[in-house]
């Protein structure tokens, strides 16, 4: 009987460990939907470049497709970067601030 209990508890442990990972939790359908959405939007965003240069957009679309395929569980990677930790949030915020100011200031100098 004690062996059975041990087995049961180990299964429970395994289950609780697994449920922290978004690809193995109960919410598999959600993770797959998110995966498709991110993949499709990457390709569409790359296609958006055609307003600037058609050839560049073809190259970027193929590149984005290959890179996205080879790094496939994208959704879990995206999710782990969007956590509630203050460090990650402030990192992205400060990066955005820097990129925005730099791009807009130096970008418009040559208009």
């Amino acid at each position: 009987m004690s062996f059975y209990r041990k087995f049961l508890s180990s299964v429970k442990d395994l289950k609780s460990n697994l449920s922290k990972d978004p690809t193995t939790m109960d919410n598999v359908s959600g993770a797959i939907a998110a995966e498709f959405l991110i993949f499709v939007s990457l390709i569409l965003a790359a296609l958006f470049l055609r307003h600037i240069n058609a050839i560049a957009s073809i190259v970027v679309v193929i590149l984005a497709a290959v890179l996205a395929f080879t790094n496939m569980p994208l959704a879990s990677k995206v999710k782990s970067e969007q956590s509630d930790s203050l460090e990650k949030m402030s990192f992205y915020i400060i990066i955005t601030l820097g990129v925005l100011v730099a791009l807009i200031y130096w970008g418009l100098k040559y208009v």
Partner: protein, 493 residues
């Protein structure tokens, strides 16, 4: 002089102060806040379109009293005081926000025996400041009211006594203390270049080439104000904290908080569009953040198991649709963005209050632990389902009309990719919502599920029903609002 315009701001502030004074006397507080709460939408309907010059500083009247050497100069036309402009578009948004706030207060009363004066104070103060934000024609005044809104948002989370609410409140404040001062710095750059903070004056100076349109001060001002706009609206990179904020408040609080964010986004978005639309890549910059908000918000909500966080992320994703409309920048797309904003205030509030009734019943929001709730109140379940359809854009609801308008505008403008993306995102929203609905209402009830309350208060059902009726009316007769939005958008371009 139209005294009803300043009253739109004065009455909520006054009611905030009064309910705070009468804290402890529940009946008085309830009566006062209900009476004053319904007064805001009524005034919004009754007030006539007009402009309010505070201190009587009407520049066209002042020209006669100016010294001779100042007549016909640039300074003569400057507004020397704060100006509030009230047009039909403000009427629609203030009316919708007032209704949402009133219904949220109503549900708060029904779910709590003793009411808290300070909590109502925060709600009214926030309402006053977003209304002022919409009315104001002065970017510094907008900044001030925006900071008051942010503080009241923090206050509402702190007062909500959910788990981890203090942590989220402090995070929001710390990140806001980076976003807010940057917005102010941008306003400072504009002030330093132009010498006025009034939007009409700024446009006049720029369009008549009194300053270099690409002078460094204006350009950096634009970058910083754009960053501040991202913070005020909760677009990426602020989407995680904004959704955390929504999910940590009580359901009625979240309904109000998201309305505040939409109005902040709208007020600053319109101001930015008026001032900076001449800058090349202005539209591209906004479209980038719109796509990020749509994709990240909806993808995160699809992976979420906590339904309050899920709706919060969906709310952020919907903000992306509004930003997309502004980014495409044609008359129809901006009108669609405004229509989408009006719809989002109502639909998301309805979902927060409707789904919030589940949290009220069971005190949990984890969809894995829930199930079978359709047996408790099937009317509520059906209304929540219809609300989710409205959010995803299923006819005949208002979400369908605004998204159709947006997709058509994107196609007309030649952005086929954006139209496809908008449709795909809507499909995922639909999927996410139906999945959560199935988990909460339809799957078999787990045995360990315990109920805190047995019944949903009638008032909550009533509030959700009213919001659903607004959705239906706007969906069947979109002309009520689009007749206002389309000319307004035409004037912006």
């Amino acid at each position: 002089m139209n005294y009803l315009i300043p009253l739109l701001v004065v009455i909520p502030i006054l009611s905030a102060l009064i309910v705070n004074i009468f804290d402890g006397k529940d009946k008085t507080v309830k009566a006062i806040s209900l009476v004053l709460g319904i007064l805001v939408p009524i005034i919004a309907i009754c007030a006539t379109v007009g402009v309010q010059y505070f201190g009587g500083h009407n520049p066209s009247l002042l020209t006669s009293s100016l010294p001779a050497n100042l007549v016909n100069t640039l300074v003569a036309g400057y507004n020397t005081g704060i100006v509030y402009a009230f047009a039909n578009i403000e009427r629609i948004f203030i009316f919708l926000m007032g209704i949402v706030a009133f219904l949220a207060i109503l549900t708060y009363f029904s779910e709590k025996k003793e009411v808290s004066g300070p909590y109502l104070y925060l709600i009214f103060m926030g309402l006053a400041s977003v209304i002022a934000l919409l009315l104001s024609e002065d970017i510094f005044n907008m900044y001030v009211f925006f900071e008051i809104t942010a503080l009241t948002q923090v206050g509402i989370i702190v007062a909500s006594s959910t788990e981890d609410n203090y942590e989220i409140a402090l995070k929001y404040l710390i990140l806001g203390a980076i976003g807010g001062p940057m917005l102010l710095l941008g306003i400072g750059f504009i002030l330093g270049t132009i010498g006025s903070v009034n939007i009409a004056d700024i446009i006049f100076v720029i369009s008549n080439k009194f300053v270099q349109p690409y002078s460094p001060g204006l350009v950096i001002g634009f970058a910083l104000i754009l960053f501040g706009w991202l913070y005020s609206a909760g677009l990426p990179p602020f989407h995680t904290i904004k959704s955390a904020v929504y999910s940590k408040a009580r359901p009625n609080g979240s309904a109000i908080l998201q309305g505040f964010s939409v109005l902040c986004m709208l007020a600053f978005g319109i101001a930015m569009y008026k001032i900076f639309a001449y800058i090349p890549y202005f539209n591209t910059a906004i479209i980038v953040f719109a796509i990020l908000a749509m994709v990240l918000g909806v993808a995160m909500s699809a992976m979420e198991v906590d339904f309050r966080r899920m709706i919060a992320f969906l709310a952020v994703g919907e903000l992306g649709f509004i930003a997309l409309g502004f980014g495409i920048g044609t008359q129809m797309s901006i009108a669609a963005a405004l229509f989408q904003a009006a719809n989002e205030i109502v639909i998301t509030a309805m979902l927060f209050i409707g789904f919030g009734s589940v949290y009220y019943l069971t005190n949990t929001s984890d969809t894995r632990k829930l199930g079978g709730l359709i047996g408790i109140d099937s009317k509520m379940a059906i209304m929540v389902l219809l609300g989710g359809w409205a959010l995803a854009g299923v006819p005949p609801f208002n979400g369908f009309q605004s998204k159709l308008m947006l997709v058509q505008a994107a196609l007309d403008a030649g952005y086929t990719e954006l139209a496809i993306l908008a449709i795909i995102v809507s499909v995922v929203i639909f999927f996410t919502f139906v999945k959560a609905f199935h988990n909460v209402y339809l799957q078999p009830k787990p045995s360990e599920l315990k109920f805190v309350h047995d019944k949903i208060p009638k008032v909550t059902v009533f509030a959700v029903a009213i919001l659903l009726i607004i959705c239906l009316v706007l969906g069947i007769c979109p002309n009520i609002v689009t007749d206002v939005f389309i000319p307004f958008a035409g004037g912006l371009i």
